[in-house]
Amino acid sequence: MKTLAGNQMYWLVKREFWEHRGGFLWAPLVTGGIFLLLNIMGIITAEVIGARHGIHIGELGAAKQHFGGGNLQSVISQMDAGDMSQVGMALDMAMYSSMALIFVVLGFVVFFYCLGAIYDERRDRSILFWKSLPLSDTETVISKVLSATLVAPVIATAAGIAAGILQLLIVATTLSFHGIHVWQLLMLAHPVRVTLNMIGHIPLYLLWALPSVGWLMACSAWARTKPFLWAIALPVATGLLVSWFGIMGLFNLSASWFWQNIVARALFSAFPGASLVGSDDLIHTGNNNLDFMNLGNAYHLLASVNLWIGVAAGAALIAAAIWFRRWRDDG
């Protein structure tokens, strides 16, 4: 029976993927593709303009730093360790930036996926077909949670890594036209570290996104119409009431605490990187490098109460979604 349950979960998740192939697979691929295309177009434009005006990137860079002739190649050979790490960071940044857009898209995909996950099947009554099969509501809702918190981010991360590496190669290739060895340059970047960082962020994303996923799915299972409106309106209206009457003062907390820890957590936690915005890590580690992306720093989050309260709230909301899916009678 255990294998049957596991098998059923696999097929339930697969079913979600079939239905949402557009959001889960094509959205990140297309986004990555467009980003790379725009980059290539930008580079070509720059090259064309550069050639027309007789400016050469390598020489320009060299002129800036050394007030003399030479090219980037010689600049690199003369750089000290500090400069090297700056170049490396710039390349890492290029890699992250190509991923960033994909993750913004992922945020939207997950948000709307959760909002429609149970509502859509109720609206078109196909829930009656799913309910005619020996699949429990618990299994079904959990398969949807897994799709949102694992399947979608894993695919987006894979697409992001691929786009990041391509981006790195494009930048490196462009520079190699100006006399810089590609490999020498790539050694300065940390594609492996960036890749591992991205993969390592997936479990954190799962945990951090849980309250949002739970809230949106509960709305999806509960709302008779317009789950989007309910999902937004309820926390925002509560937030306004809290601000207006200063209720949080009773707990020695400010209204902004409520907005940040309840409203934003319920609505925006499914956006990748949302955990970074709220945390103090950005400030502690300084903004000069990308260390805040490193897992050692990111996993400090596991020690935060905020995360675990969110996980508990998310679990409770998912349980509510399961209950509503079981008993909501749409007549």
Binding site: K14, D124, L133, P134
Partner: protein, 285 residues
């Protein structure tokens, strides 16, 4: 015979209406039961209760399970077609078969593919590209390949043309039904199911007003065609319905004495639809 469904004091109240009013009934194994009633009589509510899709008061046992608390177990042996067109519109034929084959322990894939081979459906076709009739063909192929003990059909042929409707019931009888299976059907198209039913249940205003097997219908009810001069005598026997055809009157009697009726004219077994109309008189008045 063992009871597949047993209901005692089954009640369901919505905010301001009573959908089921302390209903008692039993459904035996190996029967095809027609649950027939006007709109809003409580048919769908009764089916939903049996399928564990809604809460109710009273006792209900389906295959020995309580549909409220043991629904997951129950659904391994119960199947239903809730309505035409509840298959998800995005799904492809191939995906639907794959999915059910892997999540349903009692699904026979070869059987399903044999049913599909008889239709014009292609593996890559999506439900949204199908006509209503084709959707039902797909749904039926999926359901008939499941070795379920109870099949519930709620208006399965609504909106289908006559070819699909005939084919639907024919496949059901020829390729699916046997003495180990039980089928409950609700429909308004009474004429089309009356030959396949073994049992009849009329439901009106949340109450079962008739619960009988089809053989007993012939014994209990009689339709007599009476010429005008004997109409008064026939009316004295308190018929439950009367209509005029070609200057003669057709009376419908419930439990009247056979020899007396034979003296009045030719006796026929009433059709289910005539019986239905007579029983439900005044429902919408």
């Amino acid at each position: 015979m063992s009871a597949i469904v047993t209901a005692r004091n089954l009640s369901k109240r919505y905010k301001n209406t009573v959908a089921l009013d302390s209903v008692d009934f039993q459904i035996q194994s190996g029967r095809i039961v027609g649950l027939i009633g006007p709109n809003g009589a409580g048919k769908t509510t009764a089916l939903k209760a049996i399928l564990g899709l809604t809460r109710f008061d009273g006792e209900l046992s389906v295959l020995g399970y309580d549909p409220r608390t043991q629904r997951d177990k129950l659904m391994e042996q119960v199947c239903f077609i809730a309505d035409v067109a509840v298959l998800p519109r995005w799904i492809r034929v191939r995906e639907a078969v794959d999915f059910v084959a892997h999540v349903h322990p009692r699904f026979d894939r070869a059987k399903c593919e044999a049913f599909l081979a008889r239709t014009k459906l292609t593996p890559d076709q999506r439900v949204r590209q199908m006509s209503k009739g084709m959707i039902v063909q797909l749904h039926l192929a999926l359901v008939m390949a499941i070795d379920a003990r109870l099949l519930v059909l709620d208006e399965p042929t609504l909106g289908l043309d006559i070819l699909y409707r005939k084919q639907f019931y024919q496949s059901l009888l020829e390729d699916y039904f046997d003495e180990n299976k039980t089928i409950i059907i609700t429909t308004h198209q009474v004429e089309e199911v009356e030959h396949i039913l073994t049992d009849l249940m009329f439901i009106r205003d949340g109450k079962i007003v008739l619960d009988t097997d089809m053989d007993a219908v012939g014994d209990r009810f009689a339709e007599v065609m009476v010429s005008a001069d004997q109409a008064a005598a026939a009316r004295a026997l308190k018929p439950i319905d009367e209509r005029q055809v070609f200057g003669k009157s057709i009376f419908l009697f419930d439990g009247a004495d056979r020899p007396t009726l034979e003296a009045l004219g030719e006796i026929r077994r009433p059709s289910v639809s005539d019986l239905f109309v007579a029983t439900m008189k005044g429902t919408y008045a």
